[in-house]
């Protein structure tokens, strides 16, 4: 059992949980993830770790409420327990002194890019952090990110903060910087990862993306997380989750993520409303 210490909706539909997991907290590195079950008999889902405190033995996770398990997770409160938190899984993001690194985060990735930016800063990189969100009210953790970035740029689709539009504005943003970007790292939804990689390809900037296919065990046992990168099949949970965004077969990844779409809808229909009606 893993005790939740704090749960909070930080912006609409995006939640933060802090939980006790001392063994994981002492080993975790930027870019790694955990697999969580929100209830006994529950589904196993992968979530990146957005921050941690090695001394207190705690992890902070930021997630978007998109379905059955994340919905359940969002309904839990401090003091309650999670039956499973296992990790740290996957390889850590490669962090070296690269020069100037652009960190791009969208939705939950605004949170999970934080420890990466912090690690890069510690290695004396110049860190440019780009936050992508639908609107200004969906941006969060800006102060936290400011502390580990040399510069913060926002892109919102409605233009209520920073640039208006989507990551197609990236080339302009990069041009406006005084120096060339040596590497780009993207965390967030698959669409953002793909669009970001599309934008950086013509600029010849090495781009690392944290892929998020469907997973079950997270240890290389089931193969559901397979992705094609550079023409060969990889298991994202053990070979990744970071890959070269210019080598990923995006069409395949998007299609594989849709495998359980109808069942996910069934699951929402059958597990939410009735359950709550009965309880009242």
């Amino acid at each position: 059992m893993f005790k939740l210490l704090e749960t909070q909706m930080i912006v609409p539909n995006i939640h933060l949980v802090t939980l006790e997991a001392p063994a994981i907290a002492s080993e975790i590195r930027p870019g790694q993830f955990v697999i969580v079950r929100a209830e006994e008999e529950g589904e196993r889902i992968p979530l990146s770790v957005s921050d941690w405190d090695r001394e207190k033995g705690t992890l902070t996770i930021i997630f978007m409420n998109v379905g059955n398990t994340t919905g359940k997770l969002a309904s839990l409160r401090g003091g309650q327990n999670l039956p499973t938190v296992v990790g740290p899984l996957g390889n850590a993001t490669e962090i070296e002194k690269f020069g100037t690194v652009l960190c791009l985060g969208g939705c939950y990735g605004i949170g999970s890019i934080f420890p990466i930016a912090r690690g890069l800063k510690e290695k004396e990189n110049k860190v440019i952090t780009v936050i992508e969100a639908r609107s200004s009210y969906l941006c969060y953790w800006e102060e936290k990110l400011e502390q580990v970035s040399d510069r913060i740029v926002s892109i919102t689709r409605d233009g209520t903060k920073g640039y208006r539009g989507h990551v197609d504005r990236l080339p302009e943003i990069i041009k406006s910087l005084d120096e060339p970007v040596d590497r780009m790292i993207i965390n967030g939804c698959t669409f953002l990862l793909k669009k970001g990689s599309d934008a950086s390809r013509p600029l010849g900037i090495k781009t690392v993306v944290s892929l998020n296919p469907i997973m079950i065990d997270g240890t290389g046992m089931c193969g559901v997380c397979r992705v094609t990168v550079g023409g060969s099949t990889k298991f994202a949970c053990v070979d990744g989750p970071d890959f070269d965004g210019h080598q990923v077969d995006w069409a395949e990844l998007l299609q594989r993520r849709r495998t359980y779409m109808p069942e996910e809808v069934t699951s929402m229909r059958t597990s939410r409303c009735e359950e709550h009606v009965v309880k009242r």
């Binding site: 089931c222 193969g223 299609q255 594989r256 495998t259 069942e263």
Partner: protein, 452 residues
């Protein structure tokens, strides 16, 4: 042995074989000749005193029978169900030639089930604590055996299991209709009552490394199994609807997908499912798909004779209506416009010269390509050990297929204070071999701990 009728059982997940009644078991036991030099024992990888426990059944002294069994086999309720007796004890039974070998496995199961019906097992008095600590990696049959043997000798034992449930393949792989999960849980609970500590959700090599554990433990046993699924590396393998057997079975057994949406892990309702392979794993996948309402077929590149699965399970599959395409090799999965598998292109094969395994090698018949319409395919062609532990443990010698190299008699690895056994050493094998390896390693670990 009585079984659920094929027509009934193909629609449910309850156990197929129903087990002997007392009278039936006693009658079968009485046939045993009680050979002076029992050949059956030679066929048993852990050398159970087979005539000994059979005699107890014949005399209706079931409780002594259980004791005889358990001297050598910690998990008789499991082995009685899944051991390939037809190539072990029953194959060497003297009565085989006369066409009537004793049903040793069924009698073993009978005794174990009898014991379970007697209510809570007595917990033996704990022996004096030795103060020595052993870490067991993996909660499959190998790990369970090591833990059970060492706790009874007074050592402190902690099992670390990567998944959220104990049991290894017994829980996530072998389906409910062949091995009810309650039986596995009962055995795990018993170990806990003996004092074994269990830590699930702990991936050795990730949560902590072997070296880090060695600072705290006097010895480590690695029984992490062969859990890395192979694919065939043919076009279309990443289409939606193409699974590894591990994924399919894990969704079903560990996550209870067949009870979706009551249990939230989804499983697809496929109409036509092809399972590639011919072992127990393939049979389990096909029979599971069938129970979910699909037309299920096995695609196997050799002929029926070479099927590596247990004969009993092949017969069960046939009775239930699994279709077999022998001498057939899939060469390509073909997708529809949404990225879902819709067809499999196959080649017909014929048997040529014997290969290194002694079986005749299948060779493709030129120009024999044909297409099978299909909305799912499950790849059940084999597994090898997961490299996580080996890769994070410097100095641990591994073989060509990623298997940990360990001494056959003692289970000792190339690293001090580290033992290994079961599928992680042999590659995918059997429950009883994993248990046998666990027992030998436990003996060697105990010797080591006693010498400290």
């Amino acid at each position: 042995m009585p079984k659920q009728a094929a027509e009934v059982r193909r629609h449910n997940f309850s156990e197929v074989a129903l087990g002997y009644s007392v009278e039936h078991a006693v009658e079968e036991a009485r046939r045993c000749l009680n050979c002076k030099k029992p050949k059956c024992v030679l066929g048993c990888p852990v050398e159970i005193d087979i005539p000994g426990f059979i005699r107890c059944i014949a005399e209706r002294d079931f409780s002594s029978g259980v004791s005889v069994l358990k001297e050598k086999n910690l998990l008789p309720a499991i082995c009685g169900r899944v051991c390939p007796q037809e190539e072990q004890c029953e194959e060497t039974c003297i009565l085989l030639k006369k066409g009537g070998q004793i049903a040793i496995g069924r009698l073993e199961r009978f005794l174990a089930d009898w014991e379970a019906r007697q209510g809570e097992l007595e917990i033996p008095k704990s022996p004096a604590a030795t103060g020595k600590k052993v870490a067991v990696v993996g909660g499959g049959p190998a790990g369970l055996t090591v833990a059970g043997d060492l706790i009874k000798l007074g050592h402190q034992v902690i099992i670390f299991e990567a998944l959220h449930k104990m049991g290894g393949v017994l829980i996530y792989g072998i389906p409910e209709f062949r091995l009810p999960k309650a039986i596995v849980s009962r055995e795990v609970d018993y170990l806990k009552k003996l004092g074994v500590e269990v830590i699930t959700d702990f991936v050795v090599g990730k949560t902590r490394t072997v070296d880090s554990l060695l600072q705290e433990f006097d010895a480590i046993f690695i029984g992490s199994g062969a859990g890395l699924p192979w694919f065939m590396d043919i076009p279309g393998e990443n289409l939606n609807g193409v699974y590894s057997a591990n994924e399919y079975l894990t969704r079903m057994n560990l996550m209870k997908g067949y009870l979706f949406p009551r249990f939230p892990t989804p499983i697809k309702e496929h109409k036509r499912v092809a399972v590639v392979g011919g072992g127990n794993v393939a049979m389990d996948c096909a029979r599971t798909a069938l129970r979910l309402g699909a037309e299920a077929r096995i695609i196997y590149r050799r002929s029926r004779q070479e099927l590596p699965a247990r004969e009993e399970e092949v017969e069960n599959a046939e009775e239930e209506g699994v279709i077999f395409d022998f001498l057939t090799l899939p060469i390509r999965y073909i997708g529809n416009e949404n990225g879902w598998i819709k067809e499999i292109e196959c080649l017909r094969m014929e048997l040529g010269e014997p290969d290194s395994s002694g079986r005749r090698r299948p060779v493709p018949i030129e120009g024999s390509e044909f297409i099978l319409p299909m909305d799912a395919a499950i790849c059940a062609i084999g597994n090898s050990p997961n490299p996580l532990i080996a890769a994070s443990t410097p100095g641990l010698e591994v073989g060509k297929r990623g298997n940990i190299v360990a001494d056959e008699e003692s289970g000792k690895t190339s690293r001090e204070r580290v033992w290994a056994g079961g599928d992680v050493v042999t590659g995918a094998a059997t429950v009883i071999l994993a248990m046998g390896a666990g027992r030998k390693a436990a003996r060697s670990i105990h010797e080591h701990l006693s010498s400290l």
